[in-house]
Amino acid sequence: MMIDVPKIAADFIKGCNTSEKALQNAVADAPGILRQIVDSQLVTKFLPGFAKQKLIDAVMWAVRKVADLLYEVIELFRLLARSVGNPATLRTAAEGMVTDVATASDTLTEDLKPASLQGTQTENWKSPAAVSYATGLSEQALSVKGIGEIARNLDLALRDMADSIESFYTDAEIAFLGLAISVAGLVIAIATAGPTLGVGTVLGLVASVAGLIMSVWGFVSAFTNSASRNSDDAAELAASPSVVWTESAFAA
């Protein structure tokens, strides 16, 4: 799975800006709209002024509460967009790890054999030191071989991390949809509250809260999945065997 994470992040920023502006406008317009409604609707227009204001204040309190929650979620998406990570960079590093480290060490391991040297041939060198030389060569070859094993573990960790980021943002896109729904629900509710004062707004608040729950659930799910996967990868990488380079007697 490969998705364009930077594009998703850019979409988050753009969507956050649009949602925030719509939300600010709706909340700013809400008292005026509510005032018009309470002054014109049959069920409220004969109420005394203080009662009308109490009604407006009650609805506005709920609107502001939901709006504040929405602002928090918008900020969270902005933070995510800023700390998006870069799967492409991780994959490029993984490729370098394979080509420049794992494969190169495999090649060097292949080179480190008696046939590559002259001093390992008895017709060129026959002495106790020559035996130590041959032993040292095989020790060094084993150590070089160990580089490849570690490099492949690191390659895997980088690719897993890239996948994990992409997986997270796939889940986060669903959560972002919840945010968009909740903002739209509130904005539309305020704009269309006229015919059924209170009812429309309250229904809109319910829609907003439902959207928020969807957002939050999406976040929790995405974060939980990401945390679990990344912790496993970190533990696996930390436990990977390290190269303990053999120090040959010959090289002393």
Binding site: G85, G96, E123, N124, K126, L154, A157, V243, S248
Partner: protein, 109 residues
């Protein structure tokens, strides 16, 4: 040639060069390790939950690998130097023997 041993100093010199070349190859491998924070931005790992643990483990393992390879580089250099030294010692011993033989020959003569 030295009595009781078979040795070709030129062969050892060639081997020393081979170890120098291998050291160069090993150095390239070390340089090729993508180090987070210097070769690429650590923020590529993101700040998602657990990502910093992966980054920390990655840094630990790559640093350990780099350090281990630096021991390898010293080892390869040790092979190069030892071979060069041994080749030189054998040559000196051979020259000494030739001089001794020549001197002995002169005395005998």
């Amino acid at each position: 040639m030295v009595d009781a041993f078979t040795v070709d100093p030129d062969a050892l010199d060639k081997d020393a060069q081979t170890w120098r070349d291998w050291k160069g190859d090993l150095q390239k491998i070390s340089n090729g390790i993508p180090m987070a924070g210097s070769d690429f931005d650590s923020l590529a790992f993101s700040i998602l939950p657990g990502a910093q643990d992966v980054l920390a483990a990655y840094k630990t393992v790559t640093s350990a690998l780099e350090e281990s390879i630096s021991t390898g580089l010293e080892q390869f250099q040790g092979f190069d130097q030892k071979l060069t030294k041994v080749a030189s010692m054998y040559r000196e011993a051979e020259e000494t023997n030739v001089e001794e033989i020549a001197s002995t020959d002169a005395e005998v003569g």
